[in-house]
Point group: C2
Chain length 140, copies 2
Amino acid sequence: MTDSNAKGDRGERELVNWLDADGWTVIRAPASGSATTRDLPDVLAADDGTFIATEVKLSGGDPIYLDSEEVQSLVNFARDFGADARVAVKFDLEPDDFAYGEDHPGFYLLSVDDLHETPGGNYRVKKQTALEVGTPEVEL
Amino acid sequence: MTDSNAKGDRGERELVNWLDADGWTVIRAPASGSATTRDLPDVLAADDGTFIATEVKLSGGDPIYLDSEEVQSLVNFARDFGADARVAVKFDLEPDDFAYGEDHPGFYLLSVDDLHETPGGNYRVKKQTALEVGTPEVEL
C-alpha cells in the first residue's frame, strides 16, 4: 500500500466511523485500484430514505486536488444510484480552524458544485473554501 | 486467499456483472474478513428507487449453508439501509436444470423467508428449493 493509498484508506475509515456513529447505514466500496470500470464512490450511506455517495480526500497540503475521473465517477454513480454526491475533504487543520468538538473527525462536506475546476479539467478545493462553504455535518 | 474466499469472490463478481448488465447500479462491500463489526451485505444494488442487499453463496454441494451471523447481518443492513434482502445462491447445476440461457450466470435469488433454519440456528437452501421458489431475476 502506497502512502497515498494508506491515507485514502484511513480517510475512508474515519468517514465511515463518523457517519456510522451519526446514525447512517454505511458501505465502503472495495479499495480503489481493484479492477473495475464501473463508476464508484468511496463511501455510500443511507439514513431514512436519504442517500449520499462520497469521495474522500485527506491532505496535508492546501489546496486539495481531485482528478476529473474520480469526480465524474462519483457524479455518475450518485445519479444512477439515486444519491446526493458529496466530496469529504480533510485538511491538516490548525486547532483554531476547527470548532466542532474533539469527537468530530475534521471533515468538511462539499457538493460537487463547490469544487473549482482547473484549466486542466481537474478540480481543487482550497482550505478557505472548505471552511466557508463546506459543512461539518451532512446537509442536503 | 483460501478456496472458500476465492469462490466467494468469484460469486460476487459474477453477481455484480450480471446485475450491472441488467441495468442496476451496483456496489460491492469490501472483502469479508476485513475488520469491521458493522452489518454488511456482499452486494448492494439500486434501480430506479429500488434497492436490494444481497448475500452470495456458490456451492458444488447441495444444500448450500449460510451462517446465522451472515444472514442476520444481511437482514440488519437491509432493514437499516432501506433495501430488500436477497440471498443469491448458485449450485453446480446440470445443464438440464437451468433453462435461462447461456448469458445467465446461474444464480437463484431467494428471500430470507425461503431459507430453512437448521436446529443449530443456521440456514440452508436445497437445490430443489432454489429451483422451485427462487427466481433467476430480481423480483420484489
